[in-house]
């Protein structure tokens, strides 16, 4: 672990990148209609969180931020396996990846 912490003004730059990645992923999640792209966008939101966690870990010189990145990766892997299994199941039922094919689930 390095001795000097990240300066507060430098931290802001990394928070900016993390926030932009998160927000772009959110926009894609809300506006794209392909189920696979929707789940790809959730992975991109994870990337934004990973950058933020690592930046705060370096800022406070505390390794727990990087440990949480391991947990984020675990959740991302579990989510990808389950979500893609669901996508395959839904594709077999309707033969389309359009999220609007399942709009009756709105109730």
């Amino acid at each position: 672990m390095p001795d000097t912490p990240l300066h507060s003004l430098e931290l802001s730059h990394f928070l900016l990148t993390g926030a932009v990645l998160f927000v772009i992923g959110m926009i894609g999640f809300l506006s794209r209609r392909n189920l696979i792209i929707i789940f790809l966008c959730t992975e991109m939101m994870f990337q934004g969180v990973v950058v933020t966690l690592a930046a705060f870990s370096r800022f406070h010189l505390n390794d727990t931020g990087q440990t949480f990145v391991i947990f984020v990766l675990t959740i991302a892997a579990a989510e990808a396996a389950l979500a893609l299994g669901l996508v395959v199941l839904l594709f077999r039922r309707r033969h389309t990846l359009d999220a609007q094919a399942w709009s009756e689930l709105r109730g």
């Binding site: 003004l9 696979i36 727990t64």
Partner: protein
């Protein structure tokens, strides 16, 4: 200061909105130019007015320069992921996002996490995505993508909500007054390398460099990089994981097992076994 960031948020929102796929003519190139100019102008402004003097900086100047390069790559590739009409290309641009994020982690001295990110995301998760895209892509003329890939749903509302959230986040990340600046919490600082080695890693074997090589020149080079009183990043993260978060580690294993079983159950196809032919007596 925040006014500049608010203007950049609005311009970025316009750029992303222009690049979203839609019916008819889509001003994608114009949007890319507006977005690139907004990002460039914002970073020029921030690098001039929002960096500490070099004697107080935590990172060296080349490290900050690399962080700008990796940030630009990550953001550009991320925009391409959500605007590309073909899912395979979106997945490949996402690999670019992962690699750039790994670069940012390297700048932040998180070497182990950078390697893990490339291996797990770029290797395992992305391969799964590409497999599913291949499995679920419809046969047909490759020139025309299906309609749900060519047209975004409510892009204006999504972009407005997203960049509103971004403006709020940036107003918290870039404070205006000096007293609002975040300070590192000295009590949150992790234990020093020497303390960990002395208290917990008592039987950590000291590396005997003489056993590795006989060449005196190589021995000097090894002694220069090997410092017996210091832990490297992987050792520190591993110590933190196993010493401070053992319950979380066990729960992560349970979650992975549950998702493994769940994925098998969800994606399984029920097939009836073939009926044996009836034998008439």
């Amino acid at each position: 200061m925040p006014y500049f960031l608010y203007i950049a948020s609005v311009l970025g929102a316009v750029a992303v909105w222009m690049m979203m796929p839609r019916h008819g003519y889509s001003p994608r190139k114009l949007g890319a130019v507006v977005g690139a100019m907004t990002l460039g102008a914002m970073w020029l402004y921030l690098a001039r007015h929002h960096l500490p003097p070099s004697d107080e900086a935590g990172l060296s100047q080349p490290a900050m320069a690399y962080s700008y390069v990796f940030s630009a790559l990550a953001i550009g590739a991320a925009i391409r992921v959500i605007t590309h009409q073909k899912p395979v290309y979106a997945a490949l641009w996402f690999v670019m996002v992962v690699l750039s994020t790994a670069g940012l982690l390297l700048v932040l001295n998180a070497e182990f996490m950078a390697a893990a990110l490339v291996i797990i995301y770029g290797g395992a998760i992305l391969v799964t995505y590409v497999f599913v895209i291949m499995l679920a892509s419809q046969a047909g003329d490759p020139a025309d993508a299906p309609e749900y890939d060519r047209v975004a749903r409510e892009p204006a509302a999504a972009v407005a909500v997203g960049f509103l959230l971004l403006a709020v986040l940036l107003s918290a990340a870039f404070p205006t007054e000096p007293h609002q600046l975040l300070r590192p919490n000295p009590e949150a600082r992790g234990p020093s390398d020497a303390f960990i080695i002395e208290q917990y890693l008592t039987d950590r074997p000291a590396q005997r460099l003489e056993e590795l090589t006989d060449d005196p020149q190589q021995l000097r080079q090894l002694a220069a990089i090997e410092s017996p009183g210091a832990l490297d990043n992987a050792e520190r993260v591993g110590f933190d994981l196993f010493h401070n978060h053992p319950l979380g580690l066990e729960l992560a294993g349970v979650i992975l097992l549950v998702s493994l079983v769940g994925a098998v159950v969800i994606a399984r196809v029920r097939t009836e076994p073939p009926q044996p032919p009836e034998v008439s007596p």
